[in-house]
């Protein structure tokens, strides 16, 4: 399993990601850790990640239709996806972001 994940990843285009977190809550911290790890491992140089604290930008939460926290928004490539939760289910996260691997 672990080996498989270290295979060369394939993505269609550069990923534009926005992670909405609520302050320093443990769930938020876990999500930040997970996404950073994932990006480092599979998306070197092929991603754009912005981490936004909705406590500091409450208006943005409404504009971006954030309900659940933490929420990772995949803005590009389309279709848009919202990944809610701590991003701990790596397999699901990779699939949702459209990341596949060379066999």
């Amino acid at each position: 399993m672990k080996k498989k994940l270290k295979d060369k990843s394939i993505i269609e285009a550069k990923l534009v990601l926005k992670l909405y977190v609520s302050g320093m809550s443990s769930k938020s911290m876990t999500a930040i850790e997970n996404i950073k790890l994932l990006c480092d491992e599979h998306l070197k140089g092929r991603f754009e990640l912005e981490i936004i604290d909705i406590y500091k930008n409450p208006k943005l939460a409404s504009e971006q239709h954030i309900v659940f926290s933490p929420s990772l928004l995949k803005k590009l490539p389309l279709p848009q996806k919202t990944l809610v939760g701590t991003l701990s289910d790596t397999k699901k996260v990779l699939k949702s972001l459209g990341i596949t691997f060379e066999k």
Binding site: Y20, S22, S25, K27, T30, A31, N34, I54, Y55, P58, K59, A61, S62, H65, I66, V67, F68, S69, P70, S71, L72, P79, Q80, K81, T82, L83, V84, G85, T86, L87, S88, D89, K92, V93, S96
Partner: protein, 476 residues
């Protein structure tokens, strides 16, 4: 202890006419209230009216968090009820936050919370200083989400946070199969639960409201009919009758001098109510017509509700016995409103009555016959409706006359629908047909007459080309 409780337990007006009376002053201030009911029963309107009236009448800004309808839809829908949401938003008194959740775009990847929703609510409340909040319908969060336990505990946290925040919140919920709401919201909202119901009995739809629970407060426990019209929702708190109307000493004619003479006062009091009972064909309508015409002759506007005859037929038939309505109708003194009792529910009838009362401001109102309404509701409902109607008429000093059909000559004292009316009527006249010597003899008896001496004789009469003609002379 009791006093202390009273001090801490404050209420806030509901903005729904009639509901404050049932709830003994309104909703619990600063607490969540659950409004539940099946689809189409008026939950959203109920919630919106609470919010909008709060803004316009009680200066309490409000936040509407919509999980189902877009702000545009809400604005359009409530515009038709005369609520201008756009204007209230631009005045910073109303904040609509549309919570759009695209199920197809969402993936659950671990534990999460509803902090996004909390922050949005907090921001919305603080930005306009809201005192009232509506969450319509928060249960839609559940659909499509896997982790129910997590959501439930988050919603529980949300409600206690709202309570802490001190805003009065209405939460709407769709009726579930075995519980009040699909997700059992009633477990979390323990302070006040109101159930709305929309049911069809004998093909007539009626809306009802019941307070299922109201912790720490007295409340009416009945089911109350409510109606939705162009002014929004109003509840009919039939039990809120107050016996404090003024009573006139002015005497008016019944339209029949001979009948007037049967009363020691030479007529009946203005603003009093008269009930005419009798079997089929005892000329109740004719007596009512005389009463109507005398009112028109005094140049007083008269409203005639006919539940059996069309205006044309009534005018034609009365003309044959010399009661001419045409002129009165032309000069707008008489207005005949005819409708089938089964056309609509009781409350709709009452609504039409009330609206016409407000529009025409009549001095005399005739309902012919009131017993027709029994066919569309049970007698207690009709009774309740009549109490309310009579209440309105009395307050406005309107002369009221009701006719009521009885089925058996001697059962008028045991007929339940007469019971409902007779105690409310100030004057009760019973009409009878008897056969004597192969001839039908029509007679009239004054059963009761409050505050007036009256003849105890049965008075015979005939119907002539000039209306009712008494054949026995009155002895006082």
């Amino acid at each position: 202890m009791a006093k202390n409780k009273e001090e801490t337990f404050r209420k806030t007006p509901t903005g729904i006419s009639g509901l404050d009376e049932i709830t003994n002053g309104g909703f619990p201030k600063g607490r969540p209230i659950l409004i539940c009911g099946s689809a189409g029963c008026g939950k959203t309107l109920f919630a919106a009216q609470f919010l909008i009236k709060g803004i316009t009448d009680y200066k309490e800004p409000g936040v509407f968090m919509s999980f189902e309808e877009t702000p545009k839809d809400l604005e359009d829908n409530f515009m038709s009820l005369g609520f201008d949401l756009k204007k209230l938003q631009s005045q910073k008194k109303l904040h609509i936050d549309y919570v759009r959740i695209e199920r197809s775009e969402i993936e659950e990847t671990g534990e999460y919370d509803l902090e996004g929703l909390f922050i949005r609510l907090n921001y919305a409340i603080d930005s306009i200083g809201a005192k009232r909040v509506v969450l319509d319908t928060i249960e839609s969060l559940f659909s499509g989400m896997g982790n129910m336990t997590l959501l439930r505990s988050e919603i529980r946290r949300l409600f206690s946070w709202l309570k802490e925040k001190g805003v009065t919140t209405i939460i709407t919920g769709e009726r579930g199969e075995s519980s009040l709401t699909r997700q059992g919201m009633e477990e979390y909202v323990s302070d006040c639960v109101i159930l709305l119901d929309f049911r069809v009995i004998d093909q007539i739809a009626t809306r009802r409201l019941r307070i299922v629970k109201y912790r720490g407060s007295m409340h009416g426990t009945n089911e109350y009919p409510f109606l939705i019209d162009e002014h929004g929702i109003s509840v009919l708190p039939v039990t809120s009758l107050k016996l404090d109307y003024k009573s006139s000493t002015e005497i008016i004619s019944t339209g029949l001098p001979a009948l007037d003479n049967a009363f020691s006062t030479g007529g009946i009091y203005r603003g009093s109510s008269t009930l005419i009972t009798g079997n089929a064909g005892t000329s109740k309508t004719i007596l009512a017509a005389h009463f109507a015409l005398s009112s028109c002759n005094r140049k007083e506007r008269t409203l005639y509700f006919s539940f059996e005859e069309s205006p044309d037929q009534l005018v034609r038939n009365m003309a044959t016995i010399g009661i001419n309505f045409k002129q009165a109708i032309q000069s707008k003194l008489l207005y005949i409103h005819a409708s089938r009792p089964s056309l609509q529910g009781l409350e709709m009838h009452l609504m039409v009555l009330n609206r016409l009362l407000a529009e025409l401001k009549p001095r005399t109102v005739i309902i012919d016959p009131i017993s027709s309404l029994i066919t569309i509701g049970n007698s207690s409902e009709v009774g309740a409706m009549l109490v309310r109607l009579l209440d309105t008429l009395k307050i406005n000093q309107v002369n009221a006359l009701f006719t009521s059909l009885t089925h058996d000559g001697y059962t008028e004292y045991s007929n339940s629908n007469i019971d409902a009316v007779s105690s409310l009527a100030d004057t009760w006249i019973n009409l009878r047909n008897e056969e004597r010597n192969n001839e039908r003899v029509r007679s009239l008896l004054i059963v009761k007459s409050r505050g007036m001496g009256h003849s105890n004789n049965q008075q015979n009469f005939t119907i002539t080309g000039k209306g009712i003609n008494f054949t026995t002379t009155n002895k006082k």
